[in-house]
């Protein structure tokens, strides 16, 4: 299935390449332990799902790089977006997620 795209092996999110219906099950065809995810809610084209459960404060990784942190608990297969993750980058704040 090409409905979800994982960019980098370090990523903990995947991007929907098509609208995905609630209840869809999916097994990533990438290296690593075989897992089957059930996607609990509808995911629009272009949006992301969690590949594993995330707790508040966990880093969200896409492109093999941290793109933000979870602000809420996100189940495996759950929708990952502005309602439950936040940027490490605040405009005008040059701190880079704790890095110099």
């Amino acid at each position: 299935m090409t409905g979800l795209i994982i960019v980098d092996s370090k990523d903990n999110v995947a991007t929907a390449a098509a609208d995905i219906a609630a209840g869809t099950t999916w097994q990533p065809d990438t290296a690593g332990p075989p897992v089957t995810l059930t996607i609990p809610c509808q995911i629009p084209f272009g949006h992301k799902i969690a590949l594993s459960a995330l707790a508040p404060g966990d880093e969200v990784v896409k492109y093999g790089v941290v793109i933000g942190v979870a602000t809420d608990a996100i189940p495996a297969g759950g929708h990952v977006h502005v309602h439950n993750i936040a940027s490490n980058r605040i405009r005008g704040d040059l701190q880079q997620g704790g890095q110099a």
């Binding site: 390449a17 098509a18 941290v66 793109i67 490490n88 980058r89 405009r91 040059l94």
Partner: protein
């Protein structure tokens, strides 16, 4: 490799063009209608007309002037006629173009005694320039090429489809010795450290980070919230500015970043270089053209028709919807990456085949439609003065 050489027009400065455009360059906007009229009377001639130009000050004048001079000496330019209101500016711009060895002449409306005389004399002078510039095609290598990298109207799939395929092209051409220009300073924010890790030297790293810092200070100075994501980005699934910027820089591949240079200037290094110019499509492609890009790869998610009049602009999309909805404007449809799992190497092959055809004279969609425009950035000179006082370290590097 599907594209390793091409037949091009060798110029006296050693550069090689993939087009042989006679250009009519208006040095200020009050001459734009005349420049368009002269170009319209000479088959194949291209008008270079931009807003402003009169009474420019400081950095605005530098960017405006060097942009026009770099178009007049662009490798795709056969010869240039400079059109001015008065002789001082026209002669100055034409003089700088002449130093590059490109055939050039100038007229001024005041000196010619009005529009009609200037039109007739302008057409005669442009024809004379063309007559005196015999075309000579030579075999050239892709290492002679400068390629602009652009994305616009991005959606959440841009970074993992079209930009990723463009990244493979960048890696291949960088390895072959070509020059790839990444730009769009606002679209670096949030990914600058990731990009800076590719900097070839400490100086390149410092200049890149300073350019981003200046961009953010400018937003602060204006009291604006530089919203990193638009509503359409969020609806499309982009969640953070890091995610958007990481997707944008992906079009430059993975090879070292060898230089950071200013808007209006040309790169001095090969491989991947960064042009510190604003992101909007017309403004950025204008800067890429002035930097000497022979052609521009422009990935669009939601669709954007614009191209550059001198640097043929190849439109890519990874969006199945845009590929069908805006088929008129798309040169390379890469939507099979998401619909059928087409791999990036195959996608890059498609892009390079279109680059080969474009270099051989195939018109891009924006050339075919005449969807080409020039827009030269204007700078807030007051902000630059304040930045020099408050953040001299940043100001010194940008």
């Amino acid at each position: 490799m599907s594209f390793d050489h091409f037949m091009g027009y060798r110029r006296s400065d050693g550069r090689v063009g993939i087009r042989n455009f006679p250009l009519v360059i208006a040095v200020m906007d009050n001459c734009n209608p005349l420049a368009r009229r002269i170009a319209g009377a000479v088959r194949g001639a291209v008008p270079i007309v931009a807003a402003y130009g009169r009474g420019q000050k400081g950095e605005d004048q530098r960017v405006h002037d060097t942009t026009l001079i770099n178009y007049g000496s662009h490798p795709n330019c056969q010869a240039a006629l400079v059109v001015g209101l008065e002789h001082v500016t026209a002669e100055r711009i034409a003089g700088e173009i002449a130093k590059t060895g490109r055939p050039v002449d100038w007229i001024d409306v005041q000196g010619q005694g009005g529009t009609l005389n200037a039109f007739a004399d302008g057409v005669r002078r442009l024809n004379a320039l063309i007559d005196a510039s015999p075309a000579r095609l030579e075999r050239a290598l892709v290492s002679d090429l400068v390629i602009g990298l652009e994305c616009g109207g991005s959606d959440a799939l841009s970074g993992i489809s079209g930009n990723a395929a463009m990244g493979v092209v960048s890696d291949r051409l960088s390895a072959a010795g070509a020059t790839l220009i990444l730009s769009e300073i606002e679209e670096i924010i949030g990914a600058e450290n990731f990009l800076a890790d590719r900097a070839a030297t400490e100086e390149v790293r410092a200049k890149l980070l300073a350019a981003v810092a200046r961009c953010e200070k400018h937003a602060d100075h204006m009291g604006l919230n530089m919203a990193p994501l638009g509503e359409d980005n969020i609806l499309g699934g982009l969640s953070t500015t890091e995610e958007k910027s990481l997707g944008a820089i992906r079009k430059s591949g993975t090879s070292p970043l060898n230089e950071v240079f200013a808007n209006g200037e040309r790169p001095s290094k090969r491989g991947v270089v960064f042009l510190d110019a604003p992101a909007p499509g017309t403004e950025n492609t204008t800067a890429l053209g002035a930097a000497g890009a022979h052609m521009i790869l422009f990935n669009t998610g939601r669709g954007n028709p614009i191209g550059n009049p001198v640097s043929p602009t190849i439109k890519l999309t990874g969006s199945p919807d845009t590929a069908s909805r805006m088929a008129d404007n798309i040169d390379v449809d890469l939507s099979q990456i998401v619909t059928e799992g087409m791999d990036f190497d195959s996608a890059a092959d498609r892009i390079m085949d279109m680059m080969r055809q474009t270099a051989a004279g195939r018109l891009t969609a924006s050339e075919l439609h005449g969807d080409t425009e020039i827009s030269i950035s204007r700078i807030d000179n007051g902000f630059l003065r304040i930045l020099a006082e408050t953040d001299p370290d940043i100001a010194a590097l940008t």
